[in-house]
C-alpha cells in the first residue's frame, strides 16, 4: 500500500476564500493509501516546505500531493523540497485548486470550490499513486562545435566559441572564408570599409589554435543528437597540397588561362589556378579543373613547373573526413536572386544594367576598376546612374513576397559612394517604400538625399532599353503622378536576397526545417531565435532570412553563447519525461518513427552474438526525445509509453473522475 501525504494550501485567503481546505484535507485522508493529510496557510513558504520535508521523513511518505496553485507556479519548488527529504521528485505531484478552482469560482459559501477541490485532489492522488520514480537523464556532451559557413555570421560564431575555450570546426564551401561581406565596398551606416573590418577577423580565424578550418569543403551528413553529432565533411580536391603550399602566388602569376571570376561576379576574370581574392583565408589556391587544360587535354602544367615547394598535385582526390561534435551552428548565408528573371530590365542583355552586388565590386578599391565607378560596356565613368529598388523583393509574381530588408540601406549607400567618386554625377533611385529601421539608418538615407543629392522617385520602373549608348529607364513617379524617363549611363538593380541554392537539401541533411523560400526556421520566432527544432543545432545569419551585418554578427554571437552554455559541463541533464519502448510488444510497424516530430525514434535491429538478425523494434533516443507523447498515441500495439504521463497514470486520473 502506498504511503501518500496530502498538503492542502490555503494560500492565505486566495484558496481558502472559496475552498474549504480543511474539508479537502479530510476527504483526502479517507482515500486508500493516504497516510497523512492536512491543510496549511502557505505551503510554498519556508515553514511550509519544512513541514513537508519533516512529514516525508516522519511518516515515511512515498508520495506527496500538494493541492495548491498551478504546477507551472510551484511544481519545481515542491519537487526540490521532496528531493531534499529523500523522496524522488517525480513522486511529488500537484493539484491545481487555485488558478483552476478558487480563483475562477467565486462562490463565497465555498460549496462549489470545495466540491471541485475535492475532485481535483482525488484525481491527482490516484495519478500520483502510479507515478514512477524517475531519474534525470544525463547525456555526455562532446565539447566541440561545428560551424557551417564562413561568412561573417559563421566567423563570429567560430571566434566566440573558440574564445570560450572550445574547439571549433569551421567548414566553408568556397576556397576562402569571408562570404558575401568580403565583396562589399563600404558598409552602412558608418561607411567603414568592409574588408578593413572583416579581414582582421578572417586572419584571427586562421591563427586561432582552437579553430580547425576546412575551406573548399562541404558538409555531407550529420548524424546523432545534441551533444553527440557525427559529421561527414567532403574536402574537395584543390589539386594543391595544403601542407606544402606557402601561398607565394607564383603559380597564379604564371598560369596562362583565365575564367570568369565568381568573386567579382563576372565583372572580370581570374586565373584557372586562383584564390578568390588577394586576402583569402586560407591563402592556398585551388585549380578550377573544368577550365584547366591540364585536366581537359593534358596540356600546360605551368603551375606545377613554377611551384618551388612542389605543392601542385594533379592527382589529388576529394577526401571525406568524419568529426565528432556536440553542437552545430548553421551559418550558410544567402545569395542574390538571379537577375535574368527580369527581362524588362534587360539584365544579361544590356551590359550597363548591373546588380547591386556588382556595384559593390565597382566601388571597392580592391575591385576590378580599383574603386573607380566605370561602367562595364565601355569603361566610361557614368554621369547618370539609376538605382532600382525592390527588384524581385516584394514581387509575388516573381515568387518573392518578402522584403529583402537591406536594399534600401545599401542603395542609399551606393548613391553616396557614387556621388563621392563622381562629383558631377546624378543618382536616381526608384523606391516603393524606404525601410530604414535601425540605429542611424533613417539619418543615413536622408543624408543621401539631402547632402549627396540623390533624387528619390517613388514608383517602379516598367522597362529599360538601350539607346545610343545610353540606358533609357521608363518609370513612374507616383507622387507627381507622372511617367518619367531617364537617359542613364548605368542602371543598378537592387536584387532580392534569396536563400542559397540547395539550402533545402542541407536542411534535410541536418534535420532542420525551412520555409517556402528556403530560409531556415528558428525554433520560436521571438523567444528562441537561434535554436532549431533539432536540439543542439543553432542558426546564425542570413540563412534564416535577410539580415544585415550587425544582425548577422548578433546572431553569430548568440549562437556561440548557446553553444558555450551547452558545453559548460561534460554532461547534460534533462528532464526524464521521455518515451520508452517495450521491446517485446513492439511489432516494428514504425508508425511512431513517422509520427515523431524530432526523428527521435530509430529502427533498431536486434542481433545475437553471431551477428544474425533476431528482430527489429523501435528505439527512442533519450537525447533527442522531447516528451510530446505523439508516438504513444500513434502506437497500435501500446508498446510505447511516456514517462511522467503513462497510460496508467492518465487512466487512474480518469477513473477517479
Amino acid at each position: 500500500m502506498a504511503r501518500i501525504g496530502v498538503f492542502v494550501c490555503q494560500c492565505g485567503n486566495n484558496i481558502e476564500g472559496t475552498v474549504d481546505t480543511k474539508k479537502v484535507a479530510e476527504e483526502a485522508q479517507k482515500l486508500p493509501g493516504v497516510v497523512y493529510s492536512r491543510n496549511y496557510k502557505f505551503m510554498c513558504s519556508s515553514p511550509g516546505q519544512e513541514m513537508l520535508k519533516e512529514a516525508i521523513k516522519k511518516h515515511r511518505l512515498d508520495g506527496v500531493l500538494v493541492s495548491a496553485c498551478s504546477p507551472h507556479m510551484h511544481e519545481k519548488t515542491f519537487r526540490k523540497a521532496s528531493d531534499a527529504a529523500g523522496l524522488n521528485p517525480f513522486r511529488c505531484e500537484m493539484a491545481n485548486i487555485r488558478e483552476q478552482c478558487s480563483w475562477v469560482h467565486h462562490d463565497r459559501t465555498k460549496k462549489t470550490g470545495t466540491v471541485k477541490g475535492n475532485d481535483l485532489t482525488r484525481m491527482a492522488i490516484e495519478r500520483l499513486k502510479r507515478n514512477r520514480p524517475l531519474k534525470k537523464i544525463n547525456i555526455p556532451v562532446t565539447r566541440r562545435a561545428l560551424v557551417i559557413g564562413g561568412g561573417i555570421a559563421g566567423i563570429q560564431a567560430a571566434l566566440d566559441i573558440a574564445e570560450g575555450g572550445r574547439e571549433v570546426i569551421l567548414v566553408e564551401r568556397e576556397p576562402s572564408i569571408g562570404g558575401n561581406m568580403a565583396r562589399l565596398s563600404e558598409t552602412f551606416p558608418t561607411m567603414d570599409c568592409s574588408q578593413c573590418i572583416l579581414t582582421p577577423k578572417m586572419v584571427e580565424v586562421e591563427l586561432n589554435e582552437k579553430i580547425k578550418l576546412y575551406a573548399y569543403s562541404e558538409v555531407e551528413k550529420v548524424d546523432g543528437y545534441i551533444g553527440n553529432f557525427t559529421v561527414r565533411i567532403r574536402r574537395k580536391a584543390k589539386y594543391v597540397d595544403e601542407d606544402l603550399c606557402t601561398g607565394c602566388g607564383e603559380c597564379i602569376e604564371k598560369c596562362p588561362f583565365k575564367a570568369g571570376s565568381e568573386f567579382e561576379l563576372g565583372l572580370t576574370s581570374r586565373k584557372v589556378i586562383y584564390t578568390p581574392f588577394p586576402q583569402s583565408v586560407p591563402n592556398i589556391p585551388v585549380i578550377d579543373a573544368p577550365n584547366c587544360p591540364k585536366f581537359q587535354k593534358d596540356k600546360c602544367g605551368a603551375c606545377a613547373v613554377v611551384c618551388g615547394p612542389k605543392a601542385i598535385d594533379f592527382k589529388q582526390k576529394d577526401t571525406v573526413v568524419e568529426e565528432k561534435v556536440g553542437a552545430v551552428v548553421v551559418a550558410t548565408g544567402y545569395q542574390m536572386m538571379p537577375n535574368e528573371r527580369f527581362g524588362e530590365y534587360g539584365y544579361g542583355r544590356f551590359k550597363d544594367v548591373i546588380s547591386g552586388m556588382q556595384f559593390e565590386r565597382l566601388a571597392s578599391s580592391s575591385g576590378p576598376t580599383g574603386g573607380e565607378i566605370r561602367r562595364p560596356s565601355d569603361g566610361k565613368v557614368p554621369e547618370t546612374v539609376v538605382f532600382i529598388q525592390c527588384v524581385g523583393s516584394r514581387d509575388e509574381a516573381k515568387g518573392v513576397s518578402y522584403c529583402s530588408k537591406v536594399c534600401c540601406m545599401y542603395t542609399a549607400k551606393h548613391t553616396m559612394l557614387f556621388r563621392h567618386k563622381v562629383k558631377s554625377g546624378q543618382a536616381y533611385v526608384f523606391y516603393m517604400d524606404i525601410r530604414a529601421g535601425g540605429k542611424r539608418y533613417e539619418e543615413f538615407v536622408r543624408k543621401a538625399i539631402e547632402k549627396d543629392g540623390a533624387m528619390y522617385l517613388r514608383g517602379r520602373v516598367s522597362r529599360v532599353y538601350e539607346k545610343d549608348g545610353k540606358v533609357v529607364v521608363c518609370g513612374a513617379d507616383t507622387l507627381s503622378n507622372s511617367q518619367v524617363e531617364i537617359e542613364a549611363d548605368m542602371v543598378v538593380l537592387a536584387t532580392a536576397v534569396v536563400s542559397r541554392k540547395g539550402s533545402d537539401g542541407l536542411a534535410r541533411t541536418i534535420g532542420i526545417g525551412s520555409d517556402r523560400h528556403g530560409f531556415y526556421n528558428e525554433y520560436h520566432p521571438k523567444l528562441k531565435p537561434v535554436e532549431t527544432v533539432n536540439a543542439g543545432i543553432y542558426l546564425a545569419g542570413a540563412c534564416m532570412g535577410p539580415m544585415d551585418i550587425p544582425e548577422s554578427v548578433n546572431m553569430g554571437s548568440a549562437a556561440a553563447g548557446k553553444v558555450l552554455g551547452l558545453f559548460s559541463s561534460e554532461e547534460m541533464a534533462r528532464e526524464p519525461i521521455v518515451a520508452n519502448v517495450n521491446e517485446r510488444v513492439c511489432n516494428a510497424c514504425w508508425d511512431c518513427v513517422v509520427a515523431c516530430p524530432y526523428s527521435a525514434i530509430e529502427r533498431f535491429t536486434v542481433k545475437n552474438g553471431q551477428g544474425d538478425v533476431m528482430g527489429m523494434h523501435a528505439k527512442v533516443n533519450e537525447g533527442v526525445c522531447q516528451g510530446c507523447g505523439v508516438c504513444v498515441a500513434a502506437c497500435r500495439s501500446k508498446a510505447i509509453d511516456l514517462a511522467g504521463y503513462t497510460d496508467e497514470q492518465v487512466f487512474a486520473a480518469i477513473n477517479a473522475f
Partner: protein, 153 residues
Amino acid sequence: MSEHAQYEQTGAFEPKIMAFVCNWCTYAGADLAGTSRLEYRPNVRIIKLPCTGRIDPLFIIKAFENGADGVLVSGCHPGDCHYTTGNYHARRRWIAFKSLMEFTGIDMRRLHFSWVSASEAIKWVDLINGITEEVKILGPFVEYKGLKGEENG
C-alpha cells in the same frame, strides 16, 4: 444576487465535463483565466498532458465511461504547437475518431475540439460555459456508464 447563485445545486442536472488539454497552451490559458479572476462554470475537470498529440482516443471513451457527460480536447493553435506538429497529429486523429464516435451513437455536441492559446483566457471561459450549457440541455450521458457497471458488476 451574486453570480454564483446560479451555479448552486438546485437539484437540476449539472453535467460533468472532462477536459484533456496540453500543458503549453490551453493549460496555461486556463491558468490565465484564474490569474485574471474570470469566472466560469465549475463543471469542468482538467487532465493535463504534454501535448494534444499524446491523447489516445481511448482516454475519451474512458472519460465517458467514468461519468463524463461531455469531453473537451484542447491544445495549441495549428502552427503554434510546442512540439512543432503534435497538434496536427491530434487533429488528424480527431477527424478519424469523430466519425467513429458518431457511428457509435455519441452525440457530437458532447465532444468538442478546440484551440486555446496561453493568452486566450476569455476564449477558455466562453468555451467551458458554452459546452456546459449545451451538455446540460442534452442531459446526462448514460449509455457508457451502464457499460462500466456491467463490467464491474
